[in-house]
Subunit: 323 residues, 2 copies
Amino acid sequence: MEKKEVAAGIDIGGTNTIFGLVDREGNILAEDRVITSHYDEIEVFVAALYEKIQLCVSKAGKGIELKGYGVGAPMGNINCGTIEYAAGLPWKGIVPIAAEFRRHTSLPVTVTNDANAAAVGEMIYGGARGMKNFVVITLGTGLGSGFVIDGKLVYGHAGFAGEIGHTAIRPGDSNRDCGCGRKGCLETYVSATGIKRSLLKIMADSIQPSELRKYSFEELDAKIIHDAALRGDPLALRAFEHTGRMLGFKLADVVAHTNPEAIFLFGGLALAKDLIFEPAKEYMEENLLSIYKGKVKLLASELSTQNAAVLGASSLVWSELEA
Amino acid sequence: MEKKEVAAGIDIGGTNTIFGLVDREGNILAEDRVITSHYDEIEVFVAALYEKIQLCVSKAGKGIELKGYGVGAPMGNINCGTIEYAAGLPWKGIVPIAAEFRRHTSLPVTVTNDANAAAVGEMIYGGARGMKNFVVITLGTGLGSGFVIDGKLVYGHAGFAGEIGHTAIRPGDSNRDCGCGRKGCLETYVSATGIKRSLLKIMADSIQPSELRKYSFEELDAKIIHDAALRGDPLALRAFEHTGRMLGFKLADVVAHTNPEAIFLFGGLALAKDLIFEPAKEYMEENLLSIYKGKVKLLASELSTQNAAVLGASSLVWSELEA
């Protein structure tokens, strides 16, 4: 019997690391996760992750043949197989994650930015099928971006293209600390954490009543704010409006750089639909040069929250094998 | 005798349109210009330009064979052969410039953004030889940008990539009108016109004496401010510092989008060397994510002011003939 070839697609996030065994058609045959934040040591993390993947492969039966590992991670660098200075992960400095995998396996291991992985997933299996020029913005704990130009992922000279989460909304004019050590980066406003921070600021300035006043900062999350907004809570609505506006400003910049056909929003905040898309679209259009107005689609990712990066990361393995 | 093949490289600017007859090696065998602002009608402009090019070809003698026309212009669109809503040119709306040329000739005519043309010139004949990922910023009456990724010019979905001159420094927070109809665009600060505007504002706020107080806005130009700065004029020095700072802010954004190896500055303001490069470099570095710090070169174009766009525009003809 011929075995079914699968790739392990791995999406490393600040909280969870999700992986899936994915065939060439993009079917996820099995998936599981490990808790990223439980592992202070990269060696121990990779060993635990590797073991869990092997367990998954055994469970999937003898008909499966694993061909390689594709890893999407914040600040993942395809040139060096490293994760470098990722503020939201437990490991500091330059982390040689591909080398750690190679202590366990001789199969190919490819590492890239998590948003790049999501962009590849969107291109092969999602709403960007057939598009040559588009951008994927991932809205999780932070904000990532992946650029596709002429049908190819943009890596840049050093492998770090697509870090618009760390562009400033108004240079020199924000007190909001970013995990990267600077102030006022886009992701401090537009991300699951960013909307909490904006909500607190709005709550401090306003005297309107709100169901959200009973939550601590730690208790709050984007889902709670989303649910409150759906019930018409005025502070939650203003937090979404503000978040969408900040996103829209910077999306206009994205358009002026690379003139994409579409921008896809992916991840938790994108699930809030019109609450985030309407202000983002309005302020993007307001800030666009006339030649671009009404011509750039702002779309929701067609892949479910957890799967785009896993699918994209797995597809890196097929590209690697064909290269 | 075998004839020497040349392409007409044409650089359309708000004031002058410069053209050259360029061979495949990048030698400009002849050049001349027409005054753009004398022509309100695109038909008359193209007829006059076409005639002057033919004159140049005849003068160059029988050994020359013209193979095509490459045009660089603000808002030049390679997909449609048009110039669209270029604020600094005499013709409004969508101008079918390639079609106008085709009324006179059956040779190939290629149109692109003037900064794209300069980027191609830099890549083939200038300081970007051998580079795969770089950006050229043209500082003239306005500010243009051309992006090269993986050795190829980025056109984007609709042919309009690289309009960072029309991104806002601080969205919603500037009174400075832009020719594009919006406010606070980068080119209203960073361009030959932008530095004049900043100087006037500094002059209004300051009580320091300055040799520049005797000039009207119309009399002032970037060269006068540059010369005054070299003599230590305090207001001229502050105008350069301010201009460089605004540029540096946005260059940090450029890096976070596409992670280039180098950014080249080209055009009049770039001739001010350290006066513009030092503040630009300082504020770019200050606004860079740590992974990029100290790793992106900020360089002066190696091509003389008038020639990069002419060379780049001419090279479009060779690419067109080989496609």
